[in-house]
């Protein structure tokens, strides 16, 4: 669905998105890498769809949307850290971007 603009810089940075290796230009966000990888979603919501309105359902799939830090729909596990806003994080060589499934777990001693 998405492809880089023809005038964009050379894709020089290689990252891994859900097991796929993709290249993005320097300065591109992790969310851009998700889109270039062709994924339509990168997280599943912690709540069943529409729970607040009493509807039944399962965690809904979400993907990068606003690309400017507002909508929180691009949350991903990045290099092992859950719930990162991938649109606000620059891609780095070797970065691992994984699906965020529901709410993050917390590590307690």
């Amino acid at each position: 669905m998405f492809r880089p603009r023809p005038d964009s810089r050379h894709a020089t940075i290689c990252v891994e998105v859900e097991g796929r290796l993709v290249r993005v230009p320097a300065g591109a966000s992790a969310a851009a890498a998700v889109l270039i990888a062709g994924l339509s979603s990168i997280r599943e919501t912690p709540l069943p769809t529409g729970q607040a309105r009493g509807l039944k359902g399962h965690g809904a799939e979400r993907g990068p949307y606003c690309m400017m830090g507002i909508c929180f729909d691009c949350l991903a596990e990045i290099d092992g850290v859950p719930n990162r806003q991938s649109c606000m994080i620059a891609a780095r060589p070797g970065m691992r971007i994984r699906r965020q499934r529901g709410a993050r777990a917390v590590a307690m001693k």
């Binding site: 912690p46 709540l47 729970q51 607040a52 309105r53 009493g54 929180f72 719930n83 529901g102 709410a103 993050r104 777990a105 917390v106 590590a107 307690m108 001693k109």
Partner: protein
Amino acid sequence: MAPVRVARQEEMRRFDAIVIGGGLVGTAIGYGLARAGRLVVLIDEGDVAYRASRGNFGLVWVQTKGLGAPHYQRWTRASAAAWPLFAGELEERTGIKLGHEQNGGVQLCLSDAELAKRHAMMQQMQVEAGNFGFEYRMLDHAELAAMLPGLGPTVAGASWTPYDGHVNSLLLFHALHKAFAAAGGTYLPDSTVTAAVAAPGDFRIDVGSETLGAPQIVLAAGLGNAALAPLFGLRAPVRPQRGQILVTERTSRTWPIPLGSIRQTPEGSILLGSSEEEVGFDTSQKPEIMRAIARRAVLSFPWLAELQIVRAWSALRVMPPDGLPIYDESERLPGAFTANCHSGVTLAAAHASLFAPMVAAGALDPMLAPFSAKRFDVSAAA
């Protein structure tokens, strides 16, 4: 705002009751009145209002309320007791799930001194409750650690009562508006009172180009009540008190109950509060207060330091001089009532299910007499 003209009868819309204030207090009372079959109009300033209803923490909280004021403890308890039925009915009428949970709550104490002070307070509240009873337990660190995963090693303990709970206050607000309209209430948004005339049992207010009339009027305009009340022979000396809140990213469900200034919503967000600042009508946020809130939270649960803060805001509590609610009916102009408090969530059930029926019946119950603003009169205190 001054009495400028008396509306002609033919251009006036008549209701059984006018409620001024479209926040949690006003909508709860409006809903209660409409449910009782009254024709009610609700005047709401709109989004320019300070709106404590959109900034609060969402606790249904009993255990810190009413030391030295047993009438307040009883009123709060009455509301907490009415909450489950109130929530169920609202959910049924609107289809909106409120996220209401009321399985008790704890108030954390970070030092032995805090714990001792809290223990003394709970003992005293139990004494003041008399035969009405006041159930509580003090929990030491070990008991608390077994109940709350990831508890910080320096937390001394906590108090617990079975009465406390929490709710999604935005959905509560939405549900009250929806239930009010469904019960036949008339909602006038973006409206301010530009003129008012009042006689016993005969109240007329101008809102924009329209005049509204009713034999009863309830002032529930939060901080706006301070200026409105004198027009109706009442007093409401309330001031703003700022509170700030931080919200973390959503995590898996951790605690079974709310923890006073820390709570986790059923959706997984963790809310951290709750500061108190006397700064007037200033809704800005201050890093040093946010830092203090975060520091206390991390002392309580060190693993919280790993979480991202995704939202933060401040809001203004509606604070009477002694911190207790104000409920009154005007002596000079019977039919005019005030309702002011800083616990619009906790007291929502009382406002809809107890206060509104009193207004509908035409008189406040004697249980509310101690809440009259007359308590602030020097002569009354002497």
